[in-house]
Amino acid sequence: MSFNRFISGLRIVLFTLILGLMFVLFSHIPSYSQGCSDAGFCTMGAMKPDQQFNKKIPVKLRALVLNLYRGTTTLSPVLFVGTLDLTIGIGNHSSLQVKLPYQTVEGNLGNTSGLGDISLSYTRKVLDTETWDVAFTIGGKIPSNHSDLKKENDTVGYERDLPMYYQVSLGSWDLVAGGSVLSKDWLFATGIQIALTENNNHFKWSDWPDYPNPKYIEKHDKAAELKRGTDFMIRVERNFRFGRFNGNIGLLPIWRITKDEILDGQTGERIKLDGTTGMALSALGGIGYQINVNNGIKFLYGHKLTQRDVNPDGLTRHNVMSVSYVYRF
């Protein structure tokens, strides 16, 4: 038995090394941005990718996920996000999930960091059969600030808001709801995210006269007191499960079904922005490795196939690459 324990210990050391290596890789390989136009709901409850489905493995009531990614946007900001995702089971069919992201952004216009928006959700499995599970999720997103982070150590003599690309929070209270149908091979999920409030961002091009390239400043869409339109998503995912290894490929179209709304600085009126509705489509692929029933790691890659014309919320990612460590207990 002591030999087995030794092997088990060795595995944990190896796993830690792999995780560390991934961390280093992600910090140094330039990747294109953080991925899809997800405002948060795609990784909540029933809507999240790569869900576990094995009726023989006993369900663990608690799961702790540490997710890391680094990305580069289409502009200069580089993001690094670490998310702590905790799921607590309530009985056999319900669970509560809380996600706590911490985000840092570095770009030409400055650096920011801080707690991201907090997600809370409740998921209820309404059908639990040998071959299919059906679950529904309701929840929300709590803003960690008003999207009004300023440029630090500024020398211009006045405070100025950074664009949305630099904000660690979307700045709105959101309502989220969705559901999924899951089998050993397939996941079909759908969800809606409704921003209930506007943010308090007041980024203005005119605040940046000192920046040497005005055209670059104008590439940041205006988002003054932005109220995002409603998002609707569908996830179709094919899973391949082989004991410890699993893989998945999928499509994730997200439709913004109502226009984004901002405050027009000149008229003082709120205006709806053309070009903010439509579909952003991402293709996703992932692999996972279960070290044992308690520990696992996951890698996810997402590539955006289409995007909307105007993206004042700054969620303009071309690809997603992330690594997660999952601990179920």
Partner: protein, 850 residues
């Protein structure tokens, strides 16, 4: 399972039953002290060839050491010597000891024959002590197969000992222990614990603290605490027992292995898989001579020498389970599942070996029912491996193999044995002798199950034992003199999936079922010429109820219940639609599915549909049944009887001298006449036997290898409790036959028929035997040499039966369709006809074959 310790008690309680010389006396004292190895050394150097008592004691010492093979050898010599001397007490003593050897080997039914015989002998002698000892022996054997009977005998022993010796005697203590074990089986734990502590008190006074019999009590207490979910108490008691056994027996002893198995089971229950696996490995090390490995991934070689195959089987089962559970609950390491499967595979090989040493049919069936548990686990692990592997097919094929091993293996063995005799060039006179002995056994068995007075029963039992011994001796002789027979007899191989697929037509599919009762799963294997699909279906709690309800709703015309159950069962039993090209489906059922007409399952339920509008499975496909895929494969490969010869039987009136007269079947006359006409038109030679001419002796006269068709239109009865009493009613005759063609007699017929049609009631029923299928007339006829059978599940009016049969022969012989296709077409025709559309009329008759 604590057999050796129980044997110690029994030997001890009998030791004063007969006189002894000094060396035998010394030997018995040593046995009492738990030193059988010294007994063996002592007696080995003496000249004891002609000394029945010394042979007996030596055998007992070997039994005590777990060497059942040597024990059997010496005790059998003792029994022979006592028989020659005419010493009745000695005969009884040796018989009882031999019974214990068989019991220790898991051959309970054979053991019972010897123990009941010993009891009969002892009753004649009138010695209460030895009679009580026999009560204990009989109770012991019954404890494995019939706990109620065991309690009855144990109580008789207990009362006798109490009366003779009071409550502070070892014999009384022994009976306390026995009763405690029975109370445990009926969940009366408090009472069982009281009894065990009573016995413990006595034994601690009589023996040293370290005596194995005290270890036995700790082991029994451990089991009770395990049942009561008192982990720590259970473990403490097991550890006490382990210590005692280790100090007495050393590291290698079956009883030590047994205790480790119990610890393993306890740790699995607690989810302590590492500890469970260590215990299982210890059990294997203690049981396998010369094998020692702490590596849980190492098993002894299959041809290794083991003290007890039964105990090793339990160790391997537990090890396989612990590894499987460790995989799903903890490691997700594929190797755990691979090694779990390896344990089950070794277990499977040991089961085959065990089966070969069993001579009693009931013992073989009992082993099959136990083996199913191993196969159930092996299938689950194989399918689990398939689900996590990229190459799934090899594991699916393994699962299929294990499913086959859980199907009618005893029947296959028996058929193989019969074929082996045919191909091993055994002279005709020897085969005749063997046939006579078999007939004699069948006759005595048949008499024995129906006898009511005690004296006759005793005589018959003695006769049966003697004839059985003669038969077994004769078979041993055949095996020795004809090595080819020995080789062929034990060469039952399960065909591979490719082999089976190669004999399937493009329009044929096989669907085989395996009921995993412990796991509450139904495993289904669907095979076509180029594909093997597996399905793992959950068994609802209502499944068995639905099966019964389905059948009853057909018989008692309850359309709503029928539609509900027929539709639900279809969903469970037919998980995937077969390809359109498949027209013929062979069902290999399991358990009660063996008496379920799949044809009547409802594909699409429509509440308002009349019987002739229902979408039956019969509308889509021709269905036949078989006991196993292996049997199906063997029959497809075997030569068809090409002789155009048929024989038809219809007694029509049934007025027996013994037993109740049965109602006449006037329509059977028309039925037989119609069929006769078809045979005539198709230029078949045929013989028709009506009324008194349709006699039992006619069918037993031995010319039946010539007939390719045998049709019997009569009454039939199936006895589910005692399948050997199932029979077909024919006419009495002057040659002494009573007219009842019993199942036991059918086994001794020598048929070579392409089809045997039993146009009679309920001929497809029988005792549902786990792992063996339906034990009834069908099984007997298949063994006797019928390739296809037409039998029924319930009573059907003789008029509609007559029509169905005539139509069937018409389709088969005139239109030249296969049997399966012919029956399918007849059923569809009956469905279309409003008067016969109810499944009651058409679903009763099924085809076993293809």
């Amino acid at each position: 399972m604590k057999k050796i310790s129980l044997i110690i008690f029994i030997i001890l309680t009998n030791y004063s039953a007969y006189g002894q010389d000094i060396s035998v006396g010394q030997a018995r004292v040593l046995i009492t002290e738990g030193k059988p190895d010294q007994v063996i050394s002592l007696l080995k150097d003496l000249s004891i060839e002609d000394d029945p008592e010394a042979q007996l004691v030596l055998g007992e010492a070997y039994l005590h050491m777990g060497r059942n093979d040597m024990a059997e050898q010496h005790i059998a010599v003792s029994l022979d010597l006592y028989k020659k001397l005419g010493n009745k007490d000695g005969i009884a003593e040796s018989s009882a000891a031999l019974g214990l050897v068989f019991w220790a080997d898991g051959q309970n039914y054979k053991a019972l024959e010897y123990e009941l015989n010993a009891l009969d002998q002892r009753k004649q002698s009138g010695n209460d002590t030895t009679i009580a000892a026999s009560y204990n022996d009989v109770g012991l054997v019954y404890s494995m197969i019939n706990p109620e009977k065991a309690r009855e005998y144990y109580n008789m022993a207990h009362e006798t000992y109490l009366r003779l010796y009071g409550d502070m005697d070892e014999r009384t203590a022994n009976s306390f222990v026995n009763l405690a074990l029975i109370y445990r089986k009926s969940n009366e734990y408090e009472k069982a614990i009281d009894y065990l502590y009573n016995a413990l008190e006595t034994r601690q006074k009589v023996y040293e603290m370290d005596h194995p019999t005290i270890g036995f009590i700790y082991g029994a207490l451990g089991q009770i605490y395990t049942d009561m979910d008192q982990y720590q108490d259970a473990l403490t008691n097991y550890q006490l027992a382990e210590g005692i056994y280790r100090r007495n027996f050393g590291n290698e002893h079956p009883e030590l292995a047994n205790i480790y198995n119990m610890i393993g089971a306890l740790e699995i229950k607690e989810g302590h898989y590492d500890e469970a696996l260590t215990a299982c490995q210890n059990a294997i090390n203690s049981n396998a001579k010369g094998f020692e490995s702490d590596d849980i991934y190492t098993n002894p070689p299959e041809d290794g020498e083991f003290f007890s195959t039964d105990i090793l089987l339990v160790s391997l089962m537990l090890k396989g389970q612990a590894l499987e559970m460790q995989y799903y609950q903890k490691t997700l390491r594929k190797n755990d599942l691979v090694e779990s499967l390896a344990s089950f595979e070794l277990g499977d090989k040991l089961i085959d070996k065990s089966r070969h040493i069993r001579t009693n049919q009931e013992d073989k069936l009992f082993l099959s029912s136990r083996a199913v548990e191993l196969y159930e686990n092996a299938i689950a692990v194989s399918l689990g491996l398939a689900s996590i592997s990229i190459k799934k097919q090899p594991y699916r094929e393994k699962a299929f193999y294990f499913s086959e091993k859980g199907k009618a293996i005893v029947l296959l063995d028996a058929i193989n044995d019969a074929n082996a005799k045919e191909f091993a060039n055994i002279p005709a006179d020897m085969l005749e002798t063997e046939g006579e002995l078999k007939s004699k056994i069948a006759f005595v068995n048949q008499q024995l199950v129906s006898v009511t007075d005690n004296d006759t029963e005793q005589l018959l039992r003695q006769l049966l034992l003697e004839v059985t011994i003669d038969y077994n001796t004769f078979i041993k002789k055949l095996e020795n003199e004809f090595p080819e027979y020995y080789r062929l007899k034990y060469d039952v191989t399960i065909p591979g999936v490719n082999e089976i697929q190669s004999v399937l037509n493009d329009n044929q599919a096989i669907q085989t079922y395996f009921l995993a009762e412990n796991r509450e799963r139904l495993y289904i294997f669907q095979m076509t010429g180029n594909r093997l699909a597996t399905f793992d279906v959950p068994l609802s709690k209502e499944f068995q109820r639905y099966l019964i309800g389905f059948r009853n709703s057909i018989i008692y015309d309850l359309p709503d219940a029928y539609k509900m159950t027929g539709s639900i069962l279809y969903q469970s039993l037919m998980p995937k639609k077969l390809p359109e090209t498949i027209t013929d489906l062979v069902i290999i059922p399991a358990g009660r599915l063996g008496v379920t007409p799949f044809e009547a399952l409802i594909v699409k339920n429509e509440e308002d549909a009349e019987y002739n509008q229902i979408d039956y499975l019969a509308n889509h496909i021709n269905i036949s049944y078989q006991y196993s895929v292996t049997l199906f494969h063997q029959q497809l490969k075997s030569m068809k009887n090409t002789q155009q010869a048929a024989t038809l039987f219809a007694p029509i009136d049934f007025n027996y001298q013994i037993g109740q007269p049965l109602p006449s079947l006037p329509f059977t006359l028309n039925e037989v006449k119609d069929i006769e006409g078809i045979f005539q038109d198709e230029n078949y030679q045929y013989s028709t036997h009506l009324y008194a001419d349709a006699s039992e002796s006619k069918i037993k006269d031995g010319v039946y290898r010539d007939y390719s068709y045998i049709h019997i239109a009569s009454h039939g009865i199936v006895n589910e409790q005692q399948p050997e009493l199932s029979c077909i009613y024919l006419s009495e005759d002057e040659e002494g036959e009573d007219g009842y063609l019993y199942s036991g007699e059918i086994y001794n017929l020598d048929l070579n028929a392409n089809l045997v049609a039993l146009s009679a009631c309920q001929t497809g029923l029988g005792r549902v035997s786990r792992g063996e299928g339906i034990i009834g007339l069908s099984r007997a006829l298949l063994f006797a040499g019928a390739s296809n059978l037409l039998v029924s599940f319930w009573n059907v009016p003789d008029e509609s039966t007559a029509n169905l049969m005539s139509e069937f022969y018409n389709e088969s012989l005139r239109v030249k369709k296969s049997f399966s296709h012919s029956l399918g077409d007849v059923k569809r025709k009956m469905i279309r006809n409003e008067a016969t559309s109810r499944p009651y009329y058409w679903a009763s008759f099924i085809l076993i074959g293809h």
